[in-house]
């Protein structure tokens, strides 16, 4: 991708990358060079760079293999349930290529080891689970695990689970015991789900908001939030990109700092790290990527 790689505005900034890489281990991966150079070209003020460095230092950054290993933690809970009467359902919509489906696939490796589970207990969408739940069988399904790879504000999960119960009610299906599983999530989103749905949520990685929940001083929080909003505004004006409005501070104001290398970035993450304007002649090298 050399043709699209950015030129650093100054030699000092180019070598600054080396300093950042020494300070923040995950930035050592070459795939982040172009995005980091772009951020330094876009944000030149000292206070902007201080905030950038603070946020980058707080990113919960994982490799795909680390996250697959953490599925074994979730499977430990699942193995306590009856394989014959349990469904593990991803939250994806039917037509979507979605993170929940992608990560659900890796459950197979761990479930297969117990020799009691089979493929039919995994359903890629909520819609596909209705057929299985309404099937007449010897023992009806008693437990449903609803799985998503990441919980942001929790609103989407609440909507989907409510829809799930509505659909069961419409089909006259006796509601099973539902639990929510995720690989990672925002603490406030997880609490929102627990409050709204009163269901058990299992999530091995729980994250605090990137600015609001990192400091005790309210003035400092307010100052940093305003600074971040001004940084978003400068990008919005430069790239004429509306996403900065709908996802200001991350979707649902989640202020997420979470990324699994080489995977689609969550829209709950601060948008300066992933928003890439679309259209002819418009291009931005981003730190993380999102379709």
């Amino acid at each position: 991708m050399t043709l699209y790689q950015p030129k650093a505005d100054t030699a000092e900034d180019f070598y600054r990358l080396s300093r950042y890489k020494r300070q923040i281990d995950w930035l050592k991966a070459p795939c982040y060079d172009a995005g980091l150079t772009t951020l330094l070209n876009e944000f030149k003020k000292d206070n902007e760079r201080e905030l950038l460095l603070e946020l980058l230092g707080n990113v919960a950054h994982y490799k795909i293999s680390d996250r697959i290993e953490s599925i074994s933690t979730l499977v430990e809970y699942i193995e306590k349930l009856n394989p014959k009467t349990t469904l593990i359902v991803a939250t994806a919509k039917d037509s979507e290529s979605d993170g929940s489906k992608a990560w659900q696939y890796f459950f197979k490796f761990f479930l297969a080891q117990s020799r009691q589970w089979n493929e039919s207990c995994l359903k890629p969408t909520l819609v596909s689970s209705y057929g299985a739940l309404s099937q007449k069988r010897k023992e009806s399904y008693k437990d449903v695990i609803i799985f998503d790879d990441f919980i942001g504000s929790g609103n989407t999960m609440v909507t989907k689970v409510n829809e799930f119960f509505n659909q069961l009610s419409t089909r006259n299906i006796k509601p099973p015991t539902v639990q929510i599983f995720a690989l990672a999530g925002m603490e406030f989103g997880i609490n929102h789900i627990k409050r709204e749905l009163n269901l058990n949520v299992v999530c091995p990685v729980s994250l605090k908001k990137g600015i609001s929940e990192q400091h005790s001083n309210t003035d400092e929080i307010s100052h940093k939030i305003k600074l971040m909003e001004s940084m978003e505004l400068s990008l919005k004006e430069h790239y004429e990109c509306g996403v900065f409005e709908s996802c200001s501070l991350g979707y649902g104001q989640s202020e997420a700092l979470y990324q699994v290398q080489f995977t689609n970035c969550s829209n709950n993450v601060f948008p300066i790290f992933w928003v890439g304007p679309k259209g002819k002649g418009r291009y931005r090298n981003t730190l993380f990527y999102r379709l």
Partner: protein, 117 residues
């Protein structure tokens, strides 16, 4: 290691002067890691001398070093970026088409200061 990157580094150092990693970014759009890793690899086989961000061509290369360098770059191809180059060509305006030039994009060395008497 990408042989296009190696070839670009050789193009830069063939003048025998001392160069900086930053020049690779400005001239060939290398990322920091690409610049550092390519210079490090060429220094390892003795083709370059390098210290921190600076590097230059070893002026007394042995036959073995030249042979190693040749082996690294002989199959260089731009195939992977052909589609992007083609896109640039397609987007370009026709040779005789009238247009308002964007002077800010021109290299300052090409500009004549019209206010200068």
């Amino acid at each position: 290691m990408n042989n296009s990157l190696i070839s670009s580094v050789i193009s830069l150092v063939k003048d025998g002067q001392l160069h900086e990693l930053y020049e690779l970014n400005q001239t060939y759009r290398f990322s920091y890691s690409q610049a550092k890793d390519t210079v490090k690899s060429l220094s390892k086989i003795g083709v370059l001398y390098s210290e921190y961000e600076k590097f230059s061509l070893n002026k007394s290369l042995s036959k073995k070093q030249i042979s190693e360098l040749y082996a690294l770059i002989r199959y260089r191809t731009l195939r992977l970026e052909e589609d992007k180059i083609e896109q640039f060509e397609n987007d370009a305006i026709k040779v005789n088409c009238l247009y308002v030039p964007n002077i800010s994009r021109l290299d300052s060395a090409l500009l004549i200061d019209v206010n200068k008497k």
